[in-house]
Amino acid sequence: MAVMQATLPRRILTTPTAGPLAALVLACVFFAFKSDQFLTGGNFSLIIQQVMVVGTLAIGQTLIILTAGIDLSNGAIMAFGGIVMTKLAVENGLPPLLAIAAGLAVCAFFGLANGLLVMKINLPPFIVTLGMLNVVFALTHIYSQDQTVTNLPPEMTFLGQTFRVGGTNVTYGSLLTILLFLLFAYLLGYTAWGRHVYALGNSPEVARLTGIRTGRLIVGVYALAGLVYGLAALLLVSRTGVGDPQAGQTDNLDSITAVVLGGTSLFGGRGTVLGTLIGALIVGVFRNGLQLMGVPSIYQTLITGILVILAVTVDQLSRRRTR
């Protein structure tokens, strides 16, 4: 009895990122015809800079959604992390690298807290992270006294600086974002840990019965997502050059948008982090392209909303077909 590998066309059809990728390419072709500024290295570098913060948040969001959870608190955690690291460095005179580490640790802590509440008390992730959103949002404003932190040390804005690749300026932050995506694509696709995350998202009971320590896995996923939000905070700080307590308020829903547009199922267990990158780029390309065409920004929001509903519809329909 011969066991064949899936043929290439079949693999493309069954690859969940194929749809989002096609949408991204089509959008690029469309905007390239509509605006001659669109298809330039500088513009693409700009798009990546515009999506890197939300994209990085969306990496953590992908991990959590793969376990059939959701995180409503990631934008708030990022804003708090940004305030913590900038305030510690500027106002408390901590060495910048130490302040950054403290900011990352704080974000990882809130992720861990989310994970423990979800796992130990068995609360729905939606409610836990909704509560955490308010807690962290309030803490951000209390701790910062609603003041923006300025005059950051150069180490904190380093990721906002650029280097040249073939005539285009690319920020170190963009590079870090791409590397993070590749790292998590590897972890999810090529390690046992990644397989376990998918198994957990498919069915916690199946995962438990195959000997996976599901409790530890869930808590780890939320804590790791928190750490990634910390990196998003650093990217945000380096891009804006300030610690802003008002930051990140729409980024949470944008990160969910990127995950969903990237073909990851909100029901858990299906999806990829590279799909999320494509999803983030789709949002970025639409925003940028419509801007170049002179379309008012409220229409960008309208179109993003329609895209999300389309994406979940496709997900739901394809699930129905395979069941």
């Binding site: 066991v3 064949m4 069954t14 376990h196 198994a199 498919n202 199946v206 195959t210 996976i212 395979t322």
Partner: protein, 269 residues
Amino acid sequence: MTPVLQARGLVKRYGHVTALDGADFDLMPGEVLAVIGDNGAGKTSLIKALTGALQPDQGEILLDGKPVRFRDPLEARRHGIETVYQDLAVAASLDIATNMFLGREVRKRGPLGTVFRMLDKKRMREESARHMEDLKIGLRSLTQPVESLSGGQRQGVAVARAVAWASNVVVMDEPTAALGVKESGQVLDMIRRVRDRGTPVVLISHNMPHVFEIADRIHVQRLGRRVAQLKPADHNMAEVVAIMTGAMTVTDGKAVVADKGAAEAIGLS
């Protein structure tokens, strides 16, 4: 001959409810043992105790004649006892090879595996292919997600996984309950092949024709205990059902009417 897996006087109480009331169990090498019993007879509790999913209050379990104690299913599995659960067998979106090795992944040799923790997907695919072939489970591709398979094929993956890792015993809980006629036949064939390879199988089933078709011996569980061990050749289905429900009892290997009214009601004697 020493039984592979044995239990003596297992007791499990949940408050006022006694799930196991001094249950014995014997599984001999190389046999298919069917465990049957009415709802609430303690089949599931018995099987859970034997596979580490619950801890009995009293009694002992012996593996190859040596006393063992399983604190969780993982520990039973480490002792070579694998369980196929009725509908909780596989992770739907993952492919066959990944499912076969779920929780027991193989990493690449060298620094790729030790430092970067990279999985050896090729080796896992090859070994999965070999196991599937051993059980004559025909599949187009090992890289397709199991949700694209039929119910029988999915059960096949679960059985193949259990067999691949079971060094001592394979336990199957209602493996055909959710399947159609043809697919049930395939799973029964698989069970036969597992036995023929020398691994004893414990089969929990409600389906009397399946039990009679495949079992070498039948363990009848009733009111938390084993009330009979039968050979399918010595009894007909109606008698076995009567023993299961308490209408008949077994004395000296012969089925005797215990409850005349009940026996008549099901058309015996």
